[in-house]
Subunit: 151 residues, 3 copies
């Protein structure tokens, strides 16, 4: 009997967990700290050792890790506008039905996804690492995916 | 006997799969949609839950996720040429034996790799996500790697 | 008895491994080849098939894959200075207590992390791939994380 119980527990030896986090930002561009949401996912998953993927499910949004400091977020905003300006819309071939080509480029700079180590049931972070959802074409329902695999 | 069969089945509990996808692009720079190739790899792997890594095996190429829209691809081309121009070749210290320094920089902007969640045997994608091989120094044989782990 | 031993060996079926690599670079900006360190981690882990995550644990540093060629590294330095100049410090809102806003932006271009396939006990690399720690605000103790999962 004890043996069968051990078998049972081993069947969940490699676990996987999935959750979507939804957004509907008030502005075209926003940065939202989702570290707490991802930590809650990790707790729900029961996974102690593994990898946690967090990715934007939309191609005009980003998930990235950096500092939760408002001055830096202003710097990101103006820097991305310099590297890939929103306007004039006519500068981009993509801007026919939509005017969001700059959002595709900005998301490319910031990255689609992060992979975070899971150690002893925690996100294995350095001192200032925080996970952000970066929205570059908001004011509509969009989402990020959390997928955790491990044991 | 039944017990030994269960043991057998558990030995393949965490699976891994590997495949190379080869390219020989006609131009120095090209974007190739490889979503179908990666989906075929996933089917071959038999993996239902896990993570799928797709990376360029060359440092002048990229694997990235974005929209399969030709206007956007033109925008990527001119934007990358603005951020990291191919010419004059003499502007880069790297350009001695080869003239591909710009390709190293362009690939850096676009990224080396993507990690995609695998859920219920499918690439767990949002509505417009497509995987591309981005070539920045083509006209030769090069390759991307697909590695899937899971159960 | 033989059966119990088999149980034991299966308990380590999915393995995980973690190590920090520490740095204290002499300059504000440096690129350090850590491929050998990561290979040593992989050997220590005993993992044959899986995924290896290497990430900066600081938000002003990067882990990236590119060529170990000094001319290219000079090109990265001047290119990043053009995209996100260090000075004047006053151009960035983030520069109040510290003057490292440019380091946050440079690390964003270069990326926080790499995920490398592990195949037959080796880093599954193309011909020129090397892993670098990219420091953009050095002269202090900082670290990268190596996390490997697999079997």
């Amino acid at each position: 009997m004890s043996f069968l119980q051990k078998q049972e527990s081993r069947i969940s030896f490699m676990k996987s967990y999935r959750k979507e986090i939804w957004f509907n930002t008030p502005h075209r561009r926003d940065f939202i700290n989702i570290t707490g949401d991802v930590e809650q996912c990790l707790t729900e998953s029961g996974i102690r050792e593994g990898l946690c993927l967090v990715n934007a499910m939309h191609i005009t949004a980003s998930v990235f890790i950096n500092d939760d400091e408002s001055g830096l977020h202003q710097d990101f905003e103006s820097w991305l506008e310099k590297l890939a300006p929103e306007k004039p819309y006519s500068q981009y071939h993509h801007n026919t039905a939509e005017n969001n080509a700059d959002a595709h480029l900005k998301r490319t700079v910031m990255g689609r996804e992060v992979v975070v180590a899971v150690t002893a049931g925690k996100l294995d972070f350095g001192p200032w690492e925080q996970i952000f959802y970066g929205e570059f074409d908001g004011r509509r329902k969009k989402r990020a995916l959390v997928k955790i695999i491990g044991e």
